[in-house]
């Protein structure tokens, strides 16, 4: 009797397992089905490695579904820092990259690891900090002088410290300022922009941020804009395909479709309108077709 009952239990258990496993299979198919409508791309999945700001600001929540609907591809957005995204590109682990560190991107372009390198949009970095501006960042003559003032005063500065595009930009400013920041005032958060802003707000420190993430969280932060508009603070986003000649598993067609979508006039218009309803100003300025020289002038 007992044995029978145990056996029944085991049987029920096995059934549950099969049903659950079955569910898994079905819903996987389900998500693929929606993508089938327009046409049938051979290889549907595209891995997009990108920076956290495009996701945290909400831009990709608008663009990716639109792209998927128009082309039938299924985009897997992996939001990491620009450094990690470029690393994924270098190893052929991603198909297409949307990143914002032109000086780090250049070696990949030169080495032919990425192709179809296209300027998409820009916004700007800003320095935010406590309202009373203890280090006098606002009245500094240049962005380098502002950073020098923070270091001289040993005012708290929260760095991303994660090799992201924003972190790379910050490091380059310290470098031009001729300072190697270290000490208890220079704190590395090791997290994304949103979390770093929270830390800076709690500790009443300065930080370098992209404008989009700051605007998206402004209401919850106890931080004001300290510096904006310096030429060095331009934040430029490029999209590029990972070279399928070098990595055979790269979905070249999908990557090409995504690059083309990003620089398409209709998409560019969407980028320019994004955020206007909520913040009264666009978070990104569309730039397709322009050159870097035109932007940095």
């Amino acid at each position: 009797m007992r044995l029978k009952r145990i056996l029944t239990l085991l049987l029920v258990f096995a059934l549950v397992l099969t049903v659950l496993a079955g569910c898994g299979g079905q819903s996987d198919k389900g998500s693929g089905d929606q993508a089938q409508q327009p046409q049938e791309p051979k290889e549907k999945d595209i891995i997009l490695a990108t920076t956290t700001s495009t996701v945290d600001s909400g831009l990709l929540d608008i663009l990716v579904p639109d792209f998927e609907q128009k082309t039938g591809y299924n985009v897997k957005v992996i939001a990491v820092g620009t450094g990690a995204a470029l690393e994924m590109g270098e190893k052929g682990e991603a198909d297409v990259l949307l990143v914002h560190a032109p000086s780090s991107e250049k070696p990949l372009v030169d080495a032919g690891i990425v192709t179809n390198y296209q300027l998409v949009m820009h916004n700007d970095f800003i320095v935010v900090g406590p309202k009373d501006d203890p280090a006098g960042v606002k009245k500094a003559a240049s962005i380098e002088d502002a950073f020098k003032a923070v270091a001289a005063k040993k005012a708290i500065f929260v760095s991303r410290g994660d090799d992201s595009g924003t972190h790379k930009k910050e490091v380059s400013i310290w470098k031009t300022a001729g300072i190697e920041p270290s000490g208890s005032w220079y704190q590395k958060s090791g997290t994304g922009m949103g979390a770093t802003l929270n830390i800076a707000s709690e500790k009443q420190g300065y930080t370098l941020t992209d404008r989009a993430t700051y605007l998206a969280q402004k209401e919850k932060l106890n931080l004001d804009i300290m510096r904006e508009g310096d030429a060095a603070l331009l934040n430029i986003y490029h999209v590029m395909q990972v070279n399928s000649q070098k990595f055979e598993k790269v979905n070249a067609e999908g990557a090409k479709a995504f690059v083309e979508y990003m620089i398409n006039p209709e998409t560019q218009k969407k980028i320019g309108e994004f955020g206007v309803d909520k913040y009264g100003q666009p978070l990104f300025i569309p730039d397709a077709g322009k050159t870097m020289d035109e932007l940095t002038k």
């Binding site: 007992r2 659950l20 898994g24 996987d28 957005v77 190893k91 682990e93 949103g194 802003l197 990595f247």
Partner: protein, 233 residues
Amino acid sequence: MEVYAEGLREAIRLLVSLDPQVMDILARTLRVSGTATLISIVIGVPAGAFLALRRFAGRNLTLSLVYLGMGAPPVVVGLITWLTLTRYGPLGFLGWLYTTKAMIVAQAVIASPIIAGFTVAAIQSVNPKIRLQILALGATQLQMLLLLLREARLGILAAIIAGFGGVISEVGASIMVGGNIEGETRVMTTAIVLEVSKGQTELATALSIILLLMSFLITFVLTLQQQKGRSAQ
């Protein structure tokens, strides 16, 4: 205090309105962690029984490794799974990275040692005389095993609860191998991480409350199951 209150209000609103996005994430969380737990039971219980009952060379070493695995940091498991499943990694041809399959694999790796370890303890704490008695009554090896498992069911259910609790609360491995992709691999814990980094603390708090509530309900049902047998005795 305001933050908690707002989080609670948001949680209730999301639950009452059956917010489709939250329900989708909730269903996926259950499916991933449930499947991973079931796989871990299939691996962990027999492995635990074997380790508890058999004597063989290297048994203590194996046992220590299982106990070590019980405390394996999920991010480390995540990293190893990630490296194994990347396109150019050893199992890259499966194409599982950034799918729920990869998350199930990572979570099963996390939960299996937990379930195996507790199963060993549960079976070994059954009075050894019972084993002799069962054998003396002429039971076959399989019958004896099933009866022993039955005797140890309290501990084994505790093992399952611990294993499930371990994976449903885990975030490091899931975000690494799943990628936190909306509509595909986003589960409760990874959604909470994202909302915090977006600065949406109310939503993050609400999701946390929902996750806790769900874990509690499941644990409660399992506990009822566990204690039912007990009060009858």
